[in-house]
């Protein structure tokens, strides 16, 4: 198996696994955050705006972990430097 095939295989598999495994923990964390926000909203409806704003800020911070995994996965598929490097000799024509 030459290096070109190996790079392609590893990139594709890694891209899939990155986004699949990388979105498990943020999803669980966001579920817990919304659960806590809902229960505190039920206990203190007067503080709804503060709770909602804090919830959104917290969700964005948790979401950014999943976004990091998505960015790596996209780079592996669409802007892969190793793939471009081994493709360059045949595409240079």
């Amino acid at each position: 198996m030459d290096s070109m095939t190996l790079i392609a295989i590893v990139s594709i598999i890694t891209a899939g696994i990155t986004i699949a495994v990388g979105s498990i923990a943020p999803a669980l964390g966001e579920g817990k955050a919304v659960q806590a926000a809902l229960s505190s909203l039920a206990q203190q409806p007067d503080a709804a705006s503060t709770i909602t704003r804090t919830l959104f800020v917290g969700l964005a911070m948790i979401e950014s972990i999943a976004i990091y995994c998505l960015v790596i996965s996209m780079i592996l598929i669409f802007a892969n430097p190793f793939w471009n490097h081994v493709i360059a000799p045949s595409a240079g024509r």
Binding site: Y68, L70, V71
Partner: protein, 223 residues
């Protein structure tokens, strides 16, 4: 398939490269400034105000209220910076509805520039509020050993701001583009609707996080 509007070159001469990011950023700046100038040409404080002035008043007072709720005592001082961040990111993400438009926030250069300006603003506002030595002393709170960790957390917050905005907007436009090649016409509409929503949320998050970081740097030690 290009990952960011930086690769889309509109005009090139020797070493000066004008790419899509520069064109859209300047176009947005000109349009927003011209609109603001037009609307505030006839400002009234009593009587019937025009609808556009009412709209601008809603925007400004809402941002001011949000800044105050974050904990900054004098919101008028920070309104210019935080309001600009929110409005620029919100308008640039909202205009994604226009065809043949790539949001400039989908390029890592723009988001890094915004994140670096937040970092500089935090330092400057902190020095203005607590003095130069007072601000530097906050890095060694609570003990001296925390100095490298505080510095690393500052840098990683800046990095996270840039990557969060870039990742959200870039993946939104890219997924819409990929779906267009698979299932055209209806399904990409829902993805671009979701992209508009996340664009608004990310604009809000960026400006609120900037306000929170500034508040953390300017809070004086209370008893």
């Amino acid at each position: 398939m290009n990952l960011s509007p930086d690769q889309k070159i509109i005009w090139q001469w020797d070493f000066v490269v004008i790419n899509s990011t520069i064109v859209t950023t300047w176009a947005l700046m000109l349009v927003m400034t011209a609109l603001a100038r037009l609307i505030t040409r006839t400002l009234k404080t009593e009587g019937a105000i025009s609808r556009w002035q009412g709209f601008l008043e809603i925007v400004v007072t809402t941002i001011q209220k949000q800044i105050q709720e974050v904990g900054l005592q004098n919101p008028a001082k920070y309104l210019g910076f935080i309001g600009t961040l929110f409005l620029f990111i919100a308008v640039s993400n909202l205009c994604a509805i226009i065809p043949y438009y790539d949001p400039p926030t989908g390029s890592l250069s723009t988001t890094s520039a915004l994140a670096i300006s937040v970092f500089v603003a935090v330092v400057l506002f902190g020095i203005e509020e607590q003095g130069f030595l007072g601000y530097l002393k906050t890095y060694v709170k609570p003990t001296f050993i925390m100095l490298p960790f505080n510095i690393i957390s500052e840098l990683s917050r800046t990095f996270a701001l840039a990557i969060r905005l870039f990742g959200n907007i870039m993946s939104g436009t890219m997924i819409a583009g990929i779906l267009l090649t698979i299932t055209p016409f209806i399904v990409p509409d829902f993805m671009s609707l979701l992209g508009l929503l996340t664009g608004m949320v990310q604009a809000y998050i960026f400006s609120i996080l900037a306000a929170v970081y500034i508040a953390a740097a300017t809070q004086t030690r209370e008893a």
